[in-house]
């Protein structure tokens, strides 16, 4: 079960580029297709986010039913999760599976089918939510169930395709990155199935399923996908093997065993059984093992390469993503303690937390790995200036966003504990809502720049620099 080679296994079977020109073209167009549609959903979802942030300060703005806060809130979260992050990560996972296995995608047609189904589900889900059709305000599974079945179909297609690709590998071992990405698609097929079946979802039973679902859909889909892609992109970009293959294996199994158990920490102090809540808290602490282990592995892979880091925006994005993983996940553990949740639960602190993780970790990770890997697929690149504008707008914007909501949410919780009239907590949040809007606007503008950069990498004219001198260390031809 342990992989033999710590490096990206590429040296065993040198393949000439001409042999696979057709496969390479197919892989490139799949990767570009997933990334372009992901960027579309990113612009849409964060545009909706800006509108929502504005509405918190101007509640009478845009009063149409389909633009109302309660409907758009679910549109924002679902489009971010299942439009942007899912499509971007699946595109990256396809590229990583084929490249690290030194083979072609198992089926280009399945990849396109997955792309079509993911987009169809997102489009139909968005329209349904705007029209007021949902299966309950159940976080991240609001889409009517037939649409979620379409999404499940897309997941199944993706899992099959990734497994097929890895099965056809021309390397001896399955590279660690694929453990994470294939595992994520398999786990998420289970999560989506558990979430959609109705027989055990009455009343409080549904509450316990909600706790399971909302946490697993994040932690066993986005987290392992992103970590897996880091395990390929970081060594690739730095031209050095991952620091410890064994540590990566340990993080994989501990994440798998601990994560599914902690969902109920979203429902502390509810009438859910006390043992379920306490178990969730205990394993939230156990999450320090995979989180700190994984982070250490990435940071040690980067050790001593500061000059490379500061000269490469793809590495800077990935560095922030790794730190976002560390800080966001550790924060999640602390939020699970009853004493702290007493203050923070129900407040906007939790909104700050979800942006620290989904943005500081997942989105920065996606930005960095797209900048690292997409040019390898297309042979073109974005301008350094464009990536710099994207990086600094996104970084400063998300700092403002997360810090303002963390402070504002804490004040909100303390207001309640001090027994102030409820409306005082609404009034006290107003200045922080303004800062949230400022930060959110900067993040949105950074995505416009990202879209431009991706366009240049996909269809631009500037060729990517020739393979770096030390590329032979990893031994891989540009795939």
């Amino acid at each position: 079960m342990q992989g033999g080679s710590a490096a990206i296994p590429a040296t065993q079977h040198p393949v000439t580029q001409q042999d696979h020109a057709g496969d390479r073209d197919a892989l490139r167009s799949v990767f570009v297709g997933y990334t372009i549609t992901a960027v579309f959903w990113l612009l849409f979802a964060t545009g909706v986010g800006i509108l929502l942030a504005y509405k918190l300060g101007a509640p009478d703005f845009a009063p149409q039913p389909w633009l109302s806060f309660g409907r758009l809130r679910a549109v924002h979260t679902n489009a971010t999760f299942y439009g942007f992050a899912t499509l971007a990560l699946v595109g990256l996972a396809c590229y990583v599976a084929a490249s690290s296995s030194r083979t072609a995608l198992h089926s280009t047609r399945l990849a396109w089918a997955g792309l079509a189904l993911f987009n169809l589900a997102c489009l139909a889900g968005t329209v349904a939510l705007c029209l007021g059709y949902n299966d309950g305000n159940l976080e991240y599974r609001e889409w009517p169930w037939p649409i979620r079945v379409v999404f499940l179909g897309a997941l199944g297609v993706t899992a099959w395709n990734l497994i097929g690709t890895v099965a056809g590998r021309k390397t001896e071992d399955i590279y660690l990155a694929n453990w994470y990405t294939v595992g994520a698609t398999l786990f998420t097929c289970v999560i989506a199935t558990v979430g959609v079946l109705p027989w055990y979802q009455q009343g409080l039973g549904q509450v316990s399923v909600s706790g399971y679902y909302m946490h697993n859909a994040v932690g066993l889909w986005f987290t392992p996908l992103m970590l897996g892609i880091f395990y390929y992109a970081l060594p690739k970009r730095l031209n050095r093997p991952i620091y410890s293959y064994a540590l990566g294996v340990l993080a994989f199994w501990t994440n798998l065993v601990f994560y599914p158990i902690i969902g109920a920490h979203h429902f502390l102090f509810t009438p859910l059984p006390w043992w379920l809540q306490t178990t969730a808290i205990v394993f939230s602490v156990a999450m320090f093992v995979p989180v700190w282990g994984g982070t250490a592995n990435f940071l040690l892979t980067m050790r001593g390469r500061v000059s490379d880091m500061v000269h490469s925006y793809s590495l800077l994005f990935m560095f922030v993503g790794v730190i976002g993983y560390l800080v966001g996940s550790s924060q999640g553990t602390f939020e699970a303690f009853r004493s702290l949740q007493e203050v923070w639960h129900f407040t906007h602190f939790t909104v700050g937390h979800s942006h620290l993780t989904m943005y500081g970790f997942i989105s920065f990770g996606i930005f960095g790995t797209v900048y690292a890997l997409l040019p390898l697929a297309t042979g073109r690149r974005a301008s350094r200036f464009g990536m710099a504008v994207h990086f600094w707008l996104a970084l400063v914007g998300s700092f403002i966003y997360v810090i303002s909501l963390s402070v504002g949410g804490t004040i909100q919780g303390l207001d309640w504990m001090a027994g102030k009239p409820f409306i005082q907590s609404v009034i006290d949040l107003q200045p922080f809502f303004i800062w949230r809007g400022v930060g959110g606007l900067m993040m949105f503008l950074s995505h416009v720049v990202f879209a431009w950069n991706v366009w240049r990498i996909a269809y631009g004219r500037e060729p990517a620099p020739a393979t770096a001198p030390r590329a032979s260390l990893a031994g891989e031809a540009p795939a």
Binding site: M1, D60, N137, L138, V194, L204, G205, P271, P273, G419
Partner: protein
């Protein structure tokens, strides 16, 4: 191939087992919990209103779960497992951008207030950031016989005709008014005020004070009553200010003013106390007719609560009524109850 089976097959098998243990089995076990005694299934109209609530994502800003924590006492008694027996999809929520609604039907039983508030929340709560739900209403020349016109205050009222709720609007308000926590067996004897749904608003440290003072002593020894202005204010904010407004000015045509109100300034507090105990409807006050009913607080507030509220109203906003004691309230409660 063996390597693939070990890694992917092993991980998948482990995950399926964990998903069943942590997701499916608790779901089965908790799906068949008996309803809390006294909890009624929704009527067809209320169920329709619940669908409106779900369609518009109300629970992204409003929880329906009361935690066993001091700061949650304003929202009602702690939620019990059986409270959610008829609740599918569940609406516990994860955010309190707005107030908890688990017990809003008891805390805020006035349908007129809900209609005005839904049409535009800032008509009754100026600082509110809740969206307006005007599409649950329509403007007509004359209200149909069985549908109440919504007495909107001036800035929000239409130039011509009157605003009435649509079927969806009526259903939503019916649902909100149905959200009442049934008292838990055993809790009523121990709870202050003799009513489990009674929530003592928490001032600085007043939570602990409420716990320390046995309610029986308060009720029997009315002579010991001492007016606590902080308590009076927080009770007023919790139970009265939504309609009569924090400044006591009311909303002309919908909720009468208490500022300068004759009954509030009358040295004889009988009418003031009786109205709070038993409610009021259809009176003309200062030349304005008020058609919407004020609810009775006889069962939800005890004598000391009502005395504190009465005294707060009598000494605020320039009012100069005489003080009352808990014993006065007890006397009126006994007299009017027979």
């Amino acid at each position: 191939m063996r390597q693939m089976w070990l890694i992917f097959g092993g991980a998948f098998a482990i995950y399926v087992v964990l998903a069943v243990i942590m997701g499916v089995l608790p779901g089965f076990a908790l799906s068949s919990i008996e309803p809390t005694p006294g909890l009624e299934p929704l009527t067809p109209l209320e169920a329709e209103g619940r669908a409106v609530y779900v369609a518009n994502g109300c629970s992204y800003c409003h929880t329906q779960q009361v935690r066993p924590l001091p700061q949650d006492r304003v929202w009602g008694r702690p939620s019990a497992p059986g409270d959610f027996a008829y609740q599918t999809p569940e609406l516990l929520g994860s955010q309190r951008t707005g107030p908890d609604l688990a017990n809003v039907g008891a805390r805020q039983p006035n349908a007129t207030w809900h209609y005005i508030h839904l049409y535009n929340p800032r008509a009754v709560v100026p600082e509110s950031i809740m969206p307006p739900y005007a599409w649950l209403f329509e403007t007509v020349d004359q209200a149909p016989a069985n549908v109440p016109a919504v007495p909107l205050p001036a800035p929000w009222a239409p130039e011509h005709g009157v605003v009435v709720p649509t079927r969806e609007g009526e259903a939503l308000v019916a649902y909100l008014l149905s959200l009442k926590q049934p008292p838990l067996p055993g809790a009523s004897e121990a709870g202050a005020g003799g009513d489990a749904s009674h929530a003592a608003p928490v001032g600085d440290g007043s939570a602990t004070r409420t716990e320390e003072q046995p309610s029986e002593a308060e009720e029997t020894a009315g002579d010991d009553y001492r007016y606590d202005p902080a308590r009076g204010e927080s009770l007023y904010v919790a139970y009265c200010a939504a309609c009569h407004q924090p400044g006591g000015q009311g909303l002309t045509g919908a909720f009468p003013p208490l500022k300068g109100n004759a009954a509030v300034n009358d040295p004889d507090a009988a009418r003031h106390i009786r109205v709070i105990l038993d409610g009021l409807q259809g009176e003309e006050i200062d030349g304005v007719f008020y058609g919407s009913p004020m609810p009775a607080f006889r069962t939800s507030l005890d004598d000391r609560d009502i005395a504190d509220i009465v005294n707060h109203e009598r000494r605020s906003w320039g009012n100069a009524g005489a003080f009352v004691t808990a014993a006065d309230v007890a006397a009126h409660r006994a007299a009017a109850g027979e």
